[in-house]
Symmetry: none
Subunit: 414 residues, 2 copies
């Protein structure tokens, strides 16, 4: 079935608000084995909405529309839908009752002309119940195309989509192909390197396709399998995921929606080790990411953000002579920081970063983007120099990613 989505709203077409409904709908349809082919956005403007509906009805068998069903004058989807499909706009008794009941339930003031506006839907349409808000949705068939109209409020839309629209569409699709996707999350290599590592895994003629999406600074590889049966699709996908994991090896830090931070948290919980952090150029970003995980208090003991040399000396015991001889951005300082925070806190592991995030502070010898990362354990200290590129924000982000990936790799092999 050829499916399109249409999002309506001035706030969307002007870039004030980012449309998330189209993505939600596409993902929900994909889980049913159905693909959206086109997505269109237009403003709250009657001719534009009418053109959009006519164009989409022409190329699609189903159109899922969101937005423009509100009570205010700038919501004009119902009228445009009626005109585009040659229908009249009439007050629908059931819809009127719904608007009144919901207005009472949601403790909203009932303003009669406005609430009647929300109860007006095109003739020859069927209501789509909205259990969470006043705006009723409706669906109709125009020139053989199923058209569904729902409000743009995401929390209302999603319930209506799940309860009415998806079952309706799903029932009418015969010979559905089963589609399943899986994704692998990768940190380290660039896009061309990942592409080369995974060469030949995609087999479009056998129903297996692959997409590589850079989600700075990591990369998501999505594998998509399509077949006639659930078993066939599961087998196809599992085998492709297995091969991709083997090829990506340690670059692949997780599958699906699991973040690098989730992986690090899980590894710490399992290892029973504790951690302390000493950050300079990342200024608390690594501690923030570690403590994003609920339950991090079990392994995370303390963090210090030592921006000044004096703080590095006082809080971490980095010798002032070392700072004078090598500078705060040096392997020597990074090692002293990681060793210092580990010993001061009595943690199993001490992780330290120091570097030049920019935009100022770089030199010929240590340009902006020079970063030292150091990990101290009971047995050893490992310190490495990195040269990152980009803005201050990008260098800080890359530093935090690299440091967290070090923790992951360390915890994986112990």
């Amino acid at each position: 079935m050829k499916i399109s989505t249409l999002s309506i709203g001035d706030e969307l077409i002007s870039g004030q608000v980012t449309d998330t409904n189209s993505g939600t709908i596409a993902a929900a349809l994909l889980a049913e084995g159905l693909r959206v082919q086109r997505h269109l956005t237009v403003g709250d403007n009657e001719p534009d909405i009418m053109d959009a509906l006519n164009d989409l009805a022409h190329v699609s068998e189903a159109v899922v529309v969101t937005g423009g069903l509100g009570p205010t004058v700038d919501d004009m989807t119902s009228r445009a839908a009626a005109r585009a499909t040659g229908r009249r706009l009439v007050i629908h008794d059931e819809a009127r009752m719904h608007v009144r009941q919901m207005s009472g339930k949601l403790e909203m003031p009932i303003s009669c002309p406005l609430s009647d506006k929300q109860a007006m839907i095109p003739t020859k349409s069927t209501l789509i119940p909205n259990p969470k808000g006043t705006a009723c949705g409706f669906h109709l068939i125009h020139n053989g195309c199923f058209m569904f109209f729902m409000p743009g409020v995401p929390s209302e839309m999603i319930v209506m989509l799940r309860e009415t629209v998806l079952p309706f569409i799903s029932e009418r699709v015969t010979h559905k192909r089963v589609i399943r996707t899986a994704s692998l999350n990768v940190f380290g290599p660039g896009e061309p390197e990942v592409d080369e590592l995974l060469l030949g895994i995609a087999k479009p003629d056998q129903g297996l396709s692959m997409g590589i999406c850079v989600s700075y600074p990591w990369i998501r590889v999505t594998l998509r399998a399509e077949a006639d049966s659930k078993d066939a699709v599961d087998e196809l996908l599992a085998s492709a995921v297995r091969t991709a994991r083997e090829r990506l090896d340690e670059y692949c830090f997780s599958l699906g929606e699991i973040t690098l931070d989730d992986v690090v948290a899980e590894l710490f919980r399992n290892a029973g080790l504790t951690l302390a952090l000493a950050e300079s150029c990342t200024g608390g970003l690594i501690a923030k990411r570690i403590t994003d995980s609920a339950g991090s208090s079990r392994y995370f003991q303390q963090g210090v953000v030592t921006y000044s040399n004096e703080a590095k000396n006082r809080l971490l015991g980095v010798p002032t002579e070392l700072l004078a001889a090598f500078g705060a951005v040096s392997a020597e300082c990074a090692s002293a920081m990681s060793r210092g925070v580990q010993s001061v806190s009595g943690s199993d592991l001490g992780l330290a970063v120091t570097g030049v995030a920019g935009p100022d502070g770089g030199s010929d010898e240590k340009p902006v983007g020079t970063v030292f990362i150091s990990l101290a354990s009971m047995e050893s200290v490992r310190t490495e120099r990195f040269q990152f590129h980009g803005s201050r924000d990008e260098i800080r982000t890359l530093t935090a990613w690299t440091a967290l990936d070090w923790l992951r790799r360390y915890l994986l092999i112990i």
Copy 2:
């Protein structure tokens, strides 16, 4: 000028990634007085891209396309553009040189067949320089419609948009209505309260409209003025901004793109005061935000993330008896933390937060969302209890916002 945008990518049409480019482009065009009429999204599929280009060229005078210019096989925008407009795809010498130079600069491995792919553009096209990445953009004229093609990576796209596409379009538009927007950024009151405070400022019949957009946890109020001349629009907008600022008073922390963090940084630079942070529930988030600002090392001395009671005692001198008597989440502990970090670091100001971010750890007396914020200066300590609601992430975000807003208000009146 009728303008459309087209975003291309399987990750977009499938709902895996939310498209932000179309919004960025629409907002940038709006600032030039130009409105986007239609936005379309399709997947990495040659027939779909060709159909989309043909349809949009039919209804628009300019089409701004993003995505599908990468080095991998699933990027097929250039080929589809060539076929849709009856051109051949050829290696462009300048583009090839650019790909090689950028690959070297970004330290990416040059894999010849791949990099040559990015250097192939349709004949009778003009390059759009990409100073930030390997993918070249290009523009061409098809049946009288200007078509611009840029990569989908937002940081690359935005530079190309600003440096090449916007000036090109702007030059060709005659009889523009002048549109200017201004925005006020608000923290504290909710949307209905802001709406009430600003009642009557919008005057649509005089060309002045207003939008309120919740950008959790703050609110952006956008005023938009439209008139025939630059002077008329500037006067209209300036007067509306003045009135809105007066009504919002201290709730308005900045105008335009200036963030709360920027404001705090500017106030610190001007005040010549230094700051130290002691964070518990925010786990480094406040330090991260303070050090996001380049030059923060001038006023930010150190931060500590004291998750454990032991760290609160050792690093900040919070007495163990106090912790035993009142608990770590208490006004007493927050005050001792702010006073402690201020005195240990020798800073002018010490800011401390302690609370229950959840999802566990709440009690009847101190439910999840209970947060104490404390600010110690040489003269005084001010500590306050807050009850926030939401997820762990939301509570941490609200805590950091409230703490930074405290700093702003404190620095404003000294």
